[in-house]
């Protein structure tokens, strides 16, 4: 266990300022043991949240979180930090709503300011069919007690005065799905908070260590892997670890890791590009999303506009930026907000998204005993991070699939029971 980490508070800040004492590290760099109860591959939001809830809710602390890079260096630090729960399927709504409620109390729970800003979320409709889908989503949401409604262009203008709601644009705004509980969170702080919390409970966070293979015995596939097998551990670039439970919490590389256990996935990996402008005075009070224009935009507390788009159409692991993206993005954003034409882009980047056929994740047990999945997070992994960790920890601790994730098992692809979450990311489909 070790001693409790110092509590972050105004008093602690003043004390450290006066004494100029060093702040202790948020998490340690432990020596890797040769066996753990649970090995989690991927030290991003999902892996660390799973480790944190395993320790916090279930007292399982003999856990290693292994990453070939550094904490939060993948999708956790590349997303556009939007959270919401106005999805389309009842399964999705219940799941993401739990995540939103965890985000709301997170700063207290983790004793770290994650800068959660509940600022409202607008999904614009530019066509009659989009408006119909917005009504559909609003009704599904209301049925489950989610604050979500369809508003007209005049109300849209009140919510976000910088939007052009006139009828003279190429894609006039016909209305929007308004979701007041949606907002943005500082994504790095969320990852650090979970890492610090997990480390405090004694979880080992092992960075710069690559998993080279997953050891499976007794399976029906080549090398004893695949269905019917049982996990015995992992082989890493720093040696072997034996563990009865191995969890794949990777994004971007999920298929490659899963193939090591002989469990193929229904995933194609696509890059998704995002960009941020220079900072300016805060003028955009809500998160604005347009499916038809393939863009979502929010303004950070620093005043930078953060833009995201839909995934690139060609599956690839290459994450370079493209001029086509920048041009299209600028055109679409100016269509919505002509007033920002003089703003300059600060930078653009991309991250890898594991796209599944039904825009829902793949979670829970697999045909290989002891090998669990938390993959296929496409464009919605950040929103789901806390609840994914909580439910996966429950699944590991109890040996029974948690109710909230039972629709997302890998067996749905063999049973033909897909979830069809077309409210995901609200962009590109």
């Amino acid at each position: 266990m070790g001693k409790r980490p110092p509590k972050y508070s105004a008093a602690a800040l003043i004390k450290h300022g006066l004494t100029r004492g060093d702040w202790p590290r948020m998490w340690r760099r432990p020596e890797m043991r040769d066996s753990y109860d649970v090995v989690i591959i991927g030290a991003g939001l999902h892996g660390l949240a799973t480790a944190y809830y395993l320790a916090e809710n279930h007292g399982i602390t003999n856990v290693a979180v292994i990453d070939k890079g550094y904490v939060g260096g993948g999708g956790s630090g590349r997303n556009t930090a939007i959270v919401r729960s106005n999805y389309l399927t009842p399964e999705g709504v219940a799941f993401y709503d739990r995540s939103l409620s965890l985000y709301k109390t997170m700063a207290n729970d983790l004793n770290l300011n994650v800068m959660f800003s509940e600022r409202g979320h607008l999904t614009l409709a530019h066509t009659d069919s989009a408006l119909r889908t917005m009504h559909w989503r609003a009704e599904v949401n209301k049925l489950q007690g989610i604050d979500s409604s369809v508003i007209d262009p005049q109300e849209v203008k009140k919510q976000a005065p910088s939007l052009d709601v006139s009828e003279n644009t190429r894609y006039p705004i016909l209305g929007a799905l308004h979701h007041p509980p949606g907002g943005i969170v500082r994504h790095d702080a969320v990852v650090w908070g979970y890492a610090r919390g997990a480390d405090h409970h004694g979880v080992h966070i092992i960075q710069e260590t690559e998993v080279l293979d997953i050891n499976v015995e007794g399976g029906s596939g080549p090398g004893g892997k695949g269905a019917g097998g049982k996990v015995t551990g992992v082989r890493t670039s720093r040696g072997d670890i034996s563990a009865p439970i191995v969890v794949n919490c990777t994004a971007g590389w999920a298929s490659l890791i899963s193939n090591m256990a002989g469990v193929p996935l229904p995933i194609t990996t696509h890059p998704l590009q995002a960009a941020v402008t220079e900072p300016c005075k805060v003028f955009l009070p809500t998160v604005v999303v347009s499916g038809s224009l393939h863009v979502y935009v929010s303004q950070t507390d620093r005043g930078e506009l953060v833009f995201g788009a839909s995934v690139d159409p060609v599956g690839t692991y290459r994450v370079n930026g493209t001029l086509e993206f920048t041009e299209e993005l600028a055109g679409h954003v100016l269509e919505l907000m002509p007033g920002i034409s003089k703003m300059r882009l600060l930078r653009q980047w991309s991250g890898l998204c594991d796209m599944t056929p039904d825009y829902s994740p793949v979670m829970g047990f697999t045909p290989v005993e002891g090998y669990l999945l938390d993959v296929g997070w496409g464009t919605y992994g950040f929103k789901a991070g806390p609840v994914a960790g909580e439910t996966l920890a429950e699944t590991i601790a109890t040996g029974r699939t948690a109710d909230l994730i039972s629709p997302f098992g890998i067996e749905r692809f063999t049973h033909g029971d897909l979830v069809g979450e077309k409210g995901a990311a609200a962009v590109g489909h």
């Binding site: 590389w253 298929s255 056929p357």
Partner: protein, 82 residues
Amino acid sequence: MIIVPCPNCGPRNSGDLRNCGENIPRPDPSTASLVEWREYLYMRENPAGWVSETWYCRGGCRRYFTIQRNTMTNEIRGQEAS
């Protein structure tokens, strides 16, 4: 930008075509089990490296063809109409 060599239209920007995904042997629908058929429909190799895939020249000749592409570098080699 990815330049895709259409056998009919020559090198084109990938935006003019549609990537139809990796090539997977199609089981015989009359004899395949449900599990085999759904694996064909959904499961993907998704390799980090060379992959054999189909493209559709939607903005040009509307032909389907096969190429090899490296998913780490987007380098392309070989093409044949299918």
